[in-house]
């Protein structure tokens, strides 16, 4: 069951081989059985899931053609879900039950998808290892001593271990792609503005983008179809029309030009990871693609630029968590200032506090020009790099991360090493272009992800490229033994 795709399950649901209620019960049972080892869920919403499954069975019986109808999925715990605890993996929101639904989860529900629960993550999406969670670290299903990546680590681990058919994630600096890479699944970060941010608890508003995490590009296409498109509740959401994301999955890749940025294959890239990526690129050449070396010269500046812009926006976005209206409030505050200081000091974890401090500093009078404005100038340069590159090639490929999943605790004391994890993913967010991570082999028994970057609003093309690769290879069908054994 663990390797069943949305497409095959949709067929079985319509053939009445299985009902959505049965399918949902199976997944709930697997979560109960296996998640003790992974810690991938913060909340499992059994009752709501089963009620939704009953409704989905009726929807299917009445002839619904939605691919997602009756499919059990999980949501990263920063999408507000009406009536379901939404914590952002923070003590700050340990008691927060939203009375409203995010656009992403609402649209998936409208498509008939079942909400199994809410997945673990780095607190407020700040982290690359899923170790920064009030609810504890998530384990990588391929090796329980390793991290699943972050910040959407719970979603990635749950999909990889077969604890949901697919999941939602969000990607601010690589938070869909890097955990997808570490856990051997397929993840898509859409173009900024392709998917509404309404009801998604903000980390860095100008970078945050929701996307699917699943077992294949085809499954990602089904989910994107449901969640993409204009939303009047989000002013930054694009009015550009969506495409049919499954229609051209099988289009041949002959003539596809692939750019390999030389900066993605330099120092710091693990040799085994590099080998896997090079092998994957050869596979594309077999499929008819041509390859050329290109340059994204400002890659190295993406880290300082990102780590100014993201914390700056975060420092403001997270100001609303003040203990006044909802969420955590300290015990017996003696006055207003005490309430603010202790509620925020006790409610936020260390990494969140660190980024709030960094952002506050960068926006302060006298530092704003040197930090925030300079970071924005670099951001424009990085964007121009991509625009120029896409004048030469159709897609850009490279590694998602310099290494495979690292050990739990290995980088927690070295923030710079942790931040360097994001070197290949950050620039995509700064530019706002879409990118995917797809399984492309293994190094030392751990999955390696290939990153495919596309031009603005070229999601259909990316999914086509990824799908053709997955038709020719079987990396995406591999399962961790933990999942197989259950």
């Amino acid at each position: 069951m663990v390797d069943q795709s949305i497409t095959s399950l949709a067929k079985k649901l319509r053939a009445k081989d299985i009902s959505s209620v049965e399918l949902t019960q199976d997944y709930l049972a697997r979560i109960k059985q296996l998640d003790g080892q992974l810690n991938s869920y913060i909340t499992v919403s059994d009752e709501i899931a089963l009620a939704q499954a009953e409704a989905a069975d009726k929807l299917i019986a009445s002839g619904s053609t939605s691919a997602l109808a009756g499919i059990p999925i999980a949501h990263k715990d920063l999408f507000c879900t009406d009536g379901i605890l939404t914590t952002c993996a923070s003590k700050m929101l340990h008691n927060f039950i939203p009375p409203y639904e995010s656009t992403v989860t609402g649209r998936m529900q409208a498509s008939g998808a079942i909400t199994l629960g809410k997945t673990n993550m780095d607190e407020f999406a700040m982290g690359s290892s899923n170790e920064n969670s009030h609810y504890g670290a998530v384990k990588n299903p391929w090796n329980l001593d390793k991290v699943p990546g972050g910040s959407s680590g719970g979603s990635a681990a749950a999909v990889a271990a077969g604890l949901c058919v697919a999941a939602t994630g969000t990607d601010t600096g690589g938070s869909i792609r890097q955990p997808a890479s570490f856990c051997g699944i397929t993840g898509l970060k859409p173009t900024y503005g392709r998917v509404s941010r309404f009801g998604m608890i903000a980390y860095a508003s100008s970078l945050d983008q929701a996307g699917p995490m699943a077992r294949s590009a085809e499954d990602c296409a089904h989910i994107l179809q449901s969640i993409a498109g204009f939303d009047t509740n989000d002013s930054t959401c694009s009015e550009i029309a969506t495409e049919d994301y499954t229609a051209n999955l099988d289009a041949p890749l002959s003539g596809l030009s692939i750019g390999l940025p030389k900066e993605y294959f330099g120092d710091g890239l693990n040799n085994d990871v590099a080998k896997a990526i090079q092998d994957a690129v050869k596979e594309f050449e077999k499929l008819g693609a041509t390859v050329k070396e290109i340059s994204l010269p400002n890659l190295n500046l993406s880290i300082p630029s990102y780590y100014v812009i993201a914390p700056s926006e975060a420092s403001s976005n997270l100001s609303r968590f003040d203990g006044v209206r909802y969420g955590y409030r300290c015990e017996d505050p003696k006055d207003l200032m005490d309430m603010y200081k202790r509620s925020r000091g006790e409610g936020f974890g260390k990494e969140v506090q660190k980024r709030i401090m960094v952002g506050t500093y960068a926006l302060s009078e006298g530092y704003y020009d040197a930090y925030y404005l300079k970071a924005q100038r670099i951001r424009r340069l990085i964007k121009e790099d991509f625009v120029k590159a896409f004048e030469q090639v159709d897609v850009i490929m490279g590694p998602v991360a310099p290494t495979t999943a690292f050990g739990i605790g290995a980088k927690t004391d070295d923030p710079i090493a942790m931040y360097l994890e994001d070197i290949y993913t950050l620039s995509v967010n700064l530019a706002g272009v879409p990118a995917m991570s797809i399984p492309a082999g293994f190094a030392d028994g751990m999955p390696v992800g290939l990153q495919i970057m596309g031009n603005y609003f070229s999601e259909a093309k990316l999914l086509n490229v990824a799908h053709k690769f997955q038709q020719a290879t079987d990396w995406h069908t591999k399962n961790p033994s933990l999942a197989e054994g259950a």
Partner: protein, 481 residues
């Protein structure tokens, strides 16, 4: 020393949109706490602002009205600070690229001179909520109904030189925004609030002195008083060789004094940066031009029209166009009465006396413009005389109905029957033989002076109902025998 006062004003005008600046919640005043709110106004996690285009239209209207440059690309910025009634921990405002840039307006001072005051800028921003300190047993309640209500902050250049000029400026802004219909202008409800920046410098010195800012003054009278007391306070300090501390102060109307709220050292660093949840506002020239073409009549244009169309004096036209409510009231009264000069006299005279005595605005007048016009019609057609009309107005003020109702009910209709008037005059002549004798013995000049006595007696005897225009010739005829 001889001090020159330098004043700059920041006026917050609440725009009269139906919904809030960034949400669909209603902006109505006086609703139950926290009922006029959406996720956005409550600062809920994941809620995003959606800009109300109506506020944009209103801001552009204002820009045109003060001859300002319109920001073709303007940007919302976040002003970050913590306060319990600021639900997001930041106020969405505008910093570097406001919707309205440099402009000016002309104010007329008491001596009739016209002064030009520069407008530095005007920008859109959202209001905060309200903290309620009563009824919560030592705790503070938060009402977020006002949260995200649209404000236009209008910043003047430091061109103002006295309290009187400041009040004239604020009144002109008030007049413009109400004429444009973009602000209700009700200062008591906080529709318009004013921050006053004041400094003193020795006359002739170019450099500005250290300024203080008096926050949130909310009536014309308080603005004047606050400025007077602050000037006095600063002058006392400077005269004693002291230094002014740059700080924010509050005006206490009960004590008629300003007191310190916070000094510059304690001031927030607001960490402004462009709001990533909102796109820059890009305007087309067509949009801007269309608003300019459809701008309603402004105070100055209205006054000019009153002079040409109704032949009013410059002074009268100025008074009657001072507020849109006043101008509308006058025009309706004039149209009903059919005599603009008479309408002007009554609105500025008798009616204003009543309004002033009860501190009411013309918009709150219990006598409608239609009713006052109806009263003037009865003066015009000689049904009543001016003196009687004053008593009818009193009755109208007291809510006794229209002029016709009151004239009818009280039997105030003027006597225009020649026979009846003759009879009254004859009775007066008969009752005052000595005076009649004296009159008849006097020369013409003396007689002219004495006629007033008989006139008064006749009006008294007729209980004011005799038509004075008819009494005079008959009285003259009968007295001369």
């Amino acid at each position: 020393m001889n001090w020159e006062v330098v004043i700059g004003l920041e006026i917050h005008a609440q725009l009269s949109t139906n919904s809030k600046l960034f949400s669909g919640a209603a902006t109505s005043f006086g609703a139950e706490p926290n009922t006029n709110t959406t996720l956005v106004d409550l600062g809920m996690p994941g809620a995003l602002p959606v800009f109300n285009k109506e506020a944009l239209r209103m801001a552009v209207m204002f820009g045109h009205a003060v001859n300002a440059e319109i920001g073709m690309t303007s940007i919302f910025a976040r002003k970050n600070y913590f306060y319990p009634d600021l639900p997001k921990g930041y106020q969405t405002s505008q910093m570097d690229d406001p919707i309205v840039g440099k402009g000016y307006l002309d104010i007329t001072l008491d001596d009739g001179t016209v002064k030009r005051v520069g407008i530095t800028r005007a920008h859109l921003e959202e209001d905060a909520g309200k903290s309620l300190h009563e009824d919560f047993h030592g705790m503070t309640g938060i009402d977020l109904n006002r949260s995200s209500t649209p404000l236009l902050e209008i910043v003047s250049e430091p061109d103002i030189r006295s309290a009187k000029e400041a009040v004239a400026y604020v009144k002109m802004i008030h007049s413009i925004v109400t004429y444009l219909g973009i602000c209700d202008g009700n200062m008591a409800e906080g529709n318009m609030r004013c921050d006053v920046n004041i400094s003193l410098r020795p006359k002739g010195q170019e450099a500005y002195g250290t300024r203080t800012e008096i926050k949130n003054v909310n009536s014309f009278r308080f603005i004047e008083r606050a400025i007077y007391t602050e000037i006095e306070r600063q002058a006392d300090i400077l005269e004693d060789g002291g230094k002014i501390t740059q700080e924010t102060r509050l005006y206490d109307p009960d004590k008629d004094e300003t007191r310190s709220m916070r000094s510059k050292e304690e001031a927030n660093d607001y960490r402004y940066f462009p709001c990533p949840d909102l796109l820059p506002i890009e305007l087309t020239q067509e949009y801007v031009d269309q608003i300019a073409a459809n701008l309603p009549e402004l105070p100055k244009q209205k006054a000019d029209r009153f002079m040409s169309e109704y032949k009013l004096s410059e002074y009268d036209a100025g008074v009657l166009s001072a507020t849109r409510a006043m101008a509308d009231y006058f025009e309706e009264t004039a149209n009903v009465a059919g005599n603009a000069k008479l309408a002007a006299n009554w609105v500025m005279g008798e009616l204003s006396k009543y309004l002033n005595s009860e501190s009411k605005d013309i918009s709150e007048s219990p006598v409608s413009a239609g009713h006052l016009g109806g009263l003037l019609v009865r003066i015009e057609d000689n049904t009543i005389n001016g003196k009687t009309a004053k008593s009818v107005l009193q009755a109208m003020w007291d809510g006794e109905g229209s002029a016709d109702d009151i004239i009818e009910a009280k039997g105030l209709k003027q006597v225009t029957d020649t026979g009846a008037i003759e009879a009254v005059i004859q009775s007066v002549i008969d009752a005052n033989p000595a005076q009649v004798e004296q009159f008849r013995a006097s020369d013409e000049d003396k007689q002219k002076k004495m006629i007033g006595f008989f006139m008064g007696q006749v009006m008294k005897a007729s209980q004011g109902k005799a038509n004075p225009g008819m009494v005079t010739p008959i009285l003259n005829k009968l007295l001369k025998g």
